[in-house]
Structure formats: C-alpha cells, structure tokens
Amino acid sequence: MSDTSNEEKIIGQLRGILEESSTTEPDWDNFGRNSTIESLGLDSLTILDLLYDIEEEIGVHLEAKEVLNITTLGELVDLLIKNGA
C-alpha cells in the first residue's frame, strides 16, 4: 500500500472511530490532516477513549504521554504510521 493510500485509510478509520465515540460534532466537511485535536472535541480525558478505540480498530497501542503534545490529526496519523499502522 502506498504511503498516501495508507494515510487516507488511517484518516478514514479515525473518522469512523470519532463518528462512533465523539461526544461533540466535529466539522466533518474539513476533516483531515489539518484538523486540530481541539476542534475534534478531544481533551486530555477524551483522548484516552480515542487511544482505546485506536487499539481496538487499528491494532496499534499508543501511550497517553506519546500523544499529549499532538495538536493536529496529521501528527496523530504520522505517529500511528511510525508505530506500524
């Protein structure tokens, strides 16, 4: 799988997770690498649920401390690819 298609696949998986579990209504029209973590309704608590769902759906375990400084979805995607997604 090319880098681009893998990245698109991961973004699609993340969107699926957030559509299922997010407690807020993100701006889906502009959902992509540049979406900020804050605009997705994620904070230091709810991001723990995202990590839980990522492990369930994508099979990659990330530690909470690894994502604390992430500000955009793109950075999260890069981290997931780095960890084998």
Partner: protein
C-alpha cells in the same frame, strides 16, 4: 402563605421563585408541545423502540420521541453520550433560556449558579456499555472514561460544564423521590441564603437491555397491551406502572434576584417537607407520606382547605395508589372529597428520578393556565382510593397552591406546596 417574614438564626429567609423551566419528555422537548399534549389527553406511552422487548412480559414504555433530543444536542455541538445526561442537558438549556440567564445570541460566560440535580438510576447507558465491554473483552479492556461517564454526578457535572455554571454541583439520589428531593434541597439553599440561583430538577434514561428487563421482573409494571390504556393511576382496574424516560429542569432564585434582573416569575415554592418511612424497602407507609405533607403545608402556612389541587405521585400500582390516597385522606380529611387530584404518570410514564421535576413543571403550568389536565384511564375510579380525581376532561382551577407528592423505593417522601407567580 409566604415565608418572606420568617427568621432563622437572625438571617432573613428568602422567598424562592421559579424563573425558568425546561422539559425533555415523552410528550415532547418543548413546553408548549408538552402542555398541548397534556391538556388534549395524549399519552407519551407507546411500544418501546430502544430495545427488543419480544422476550419480556411488558412491551410498553414512555420514550422521548425519536430524534428530538438528538437534534437539540446537535445544536449544542454535542453528540448523544448517555441518555440521562443528554436529556438533562436539553432540558437545562431550555430552563436557562427561559430564565434569561443565557441567550441564543450571546456567548456563554461563567455564572455563579449551582446545579443540584436528581436521578434514580444515573448513567444507566454508560454502565450498560461498560459492563458489556467488560464481559465481551475482559476487565482489562474497560473503556478508560468509564469512570467519569458512570459516576452519578456525571449529570450535574455535565450541565455545569456545558453551561459554565460555577456554583455548587452535586446529585441527590433517592429513587423516585430524587428530583423532588433535589428541588427541595435547592429550594432550601436559596431560601436560607446559601445560593442566589440554583438550576435543579431530575433526569433518568434507562431503556437498556439490563435495566428495563430487571424492572419487568419486579412485578410492578402493567401488562396491559394497549399503550394508551396501560397506565391507570387510582383506577379500580389499574394493573401497574409503565416506565418512562425524561428530564425536567427548573431555575430557582430569590425573589429579590428575579425582580432586580426583570426575570419572568413562573411560580413560587411555598413549602417543602420530607421524611423516611423506615418501615420497608419498597412498600410505602401512609404515616411517612402524611408526615411530609404536613411538613410542607406547615412551612407554607397553608391549610389543606387552601390547596387548590394535588399533583399526586400516582404510580398506578395497587399498593402505592391505595397508600397515597389514604395519606391524602389522613391529612385533608373531608377536604379530600373535593380537592381535585391530577396524576401525570398516565402521560409521562414513571420517569423515576425525573418524575418529581416533570410533575412540578406540569403543576406550575396548570397554575399558569388555570386548568388541570385530564387524567387518562380513570373511567373506573377505585372506590377504595377516597380522593377526588380529575376526570377525562380538563377542569378549571383557581390560583390556590398545589400540593406535589413524590415517594420512592427506600421509603423516601418529598412533598411541595407550590404557588402561582403572583
């Protein structure tokens, strides 16, 4: 009839008025629709949609009409999370808008408003989902946020967070008396000067594959198939209650505060009484109920003869209705022959920890409109319930105070005397 001149420890007590009401109920999620349905005799009870009831004895329940709460949450940029919290937030928004404490046009700013809320079951949906994950995937795979999602005060905390309310924030949990005890606690906080403004009420949402079947098995639900006929408070042919989901929110504040900011006053809490039966976990006691009624009347300075109508707890179970009517008779004496009694559970179902709030709002609406809504399914009043039920047509009422009763498993009793806006 007011407590304006009462003194306690040298501190003046405040008159406590209602300046906002919000409702998310099986009759609708806006006050006008709810009142229209009440006055036109349309029940919110129907076949349950949320779960498969085919293996159960009872298939009816009172659910908030599909999509209404979800649409309101979307307007708040929220997605459904836990049913009890979702319904509470929807009703809280309406109450705050009604009171003028927030507006659609202005950004939210932190306000020193307390949140004292009631629930019987709490975050049932979150509990069920967490348990389901644990049984399917093992305890090590419980969702990390199960703890804050499942805690009972997730509801009051959620309201506080959503609307930036910075006063006290906690829950009252006392089964079917929860909302009434919460409103009563809020009333006392305002009356005694501990808070100027409190958002209060109750919420429950529990149509999940665990909680509803459990209630099927306790033997208090009506097995009558026709949902419009299933719940028959104080009728001779009553066969049990029907569960409902919902939330009701009221804004209580001192009369001085309401007048100073030009708020519209919707009603007043004149007195509150509470007691515990201390006799049985689930069977009610007439003595305990009557004690709470007398306390509320005494605090309000109102005699039974001055009560214009009663909004009963009226669950439609044999034991509860018989006990409540006996309690009313013991407090009201011969006045029980003529004071009209309304029982809202034939409309809302039994919303457990929300019922006191929904029924208080119904009582205030009745006072505002000068009309008591009809009782459903009261074609055959129980002669052993020696009270005067409003019949199948609405009746005119005057502006005399209303008594509102709530009683719960655990033996808790809570009673209000509610007055009109003037």
């Amino acid at each position: 009839m007011t407590n304006e001149s009462c003194q306690r420890n040298g501190s003046p007590r405040h008159r406590v008025v209602v300046t906002g009401m919000g409702i998310a109920s099986p009759l609708g999620v806006d006050e006008k629709t709810v009142w229209k349905n009440l006055i036109e005799g349309r029940t919110g009870i129907g076949p349950i949609r949320a779960i498969d009831t085919s293996a159960l004895k009872v298939h009816n329940g009172a659910e908030v009409p599909e999509g209404l709460a979800e649409a309101r949450l979307k307007s708040l940029s929220r997605r459904p999370s836990d049913r009890a919290l979702d319904l509470a937030v929807v009703s809280a928004q309406d109450a705050l808008l009604d009171s003028g404490l927030i507006s659609q046009e202005q950004e939210l700013v932190p306000q020193n408003v307390s949140v004292i809320y009631g629930t019987g079951v709490g975050s049932a949906e979150s509990h069920y989902k967490s348990m389901q994950a644990m049984f399917e995937k093992g305890p090590q795979r419980a969702r990390p946020t199960a703890v804050p999602r499942c805690m009972y005060n997730a509801i009051s905390a959620g309201i506080s967070l959503q609307f930036k309310l910075t006063g006290a924030n906690y829950m009252i949990v006392s089964a079917c008396t929860s909302a009434t005890n919460a409103i009563g606690t809020a009333y006392r906080m305002v009356r005694d000067g501990y808070a100027q403004t409190v958002l209060t009420g109750g919420s429950d949402g529990f149509f999940d594959p665990f909680f509803y079947p459990v209630w099927n098995n306790i033997g208090v639900l009506s097995k009558i198939e026709d949902p419009t006929k299933a719940c028959r408070p104080f009728a001779a042919d009553r066969e049990g209650t029907i569960l409902g989901e919902g939330a009701g929110t009221l804004i209580l504040e001192t009369l001085e505060s309401a007048l100073s900011r030009g708020a519209t006053i919707r009603g007043e809490i004149l007195g509150y009484g509470e007691s515990s039966d201390a006799t049985h976990l689930t069977n009610p006691s007439s003595e305990g109920q009557a004690k709470a009624m007398r306390m509320a009347l005494n605090e309000a300075g109102v005699s039974p003869q001055e009560i214009g109508h009663i909004n009963a707890h009226g669950t439609a179970t044999h034991g509860n209705d018989a006990c409540e009517s006996k309690s009313i008779r013991s407090v009201f004496g011969d006045a029980a022959d003529s004071v009209p009694v309304v029982a809202n559970k034939s409309y809302f179902g039994h919303t457990l920890g929300a019922s006191g709030a929904l029924e208080c709002i119904s009582a205030f609406l009745a006072l505002e409109h000068g009309v008591a809504p009809p009782n459903l399914n009261i074609e055959n009043p129980d002669p052993e319930c020696r009270i005067h039920m409003v019949g199948s047509k609405p009746v005119s009422i005057d502006s005399r105070p209303v008594m509102k009763n709530s009683f719960g498993f655990g033996g808790g009793n809570g009673v209000f005397v509610l007055g009109p806006s003037n």
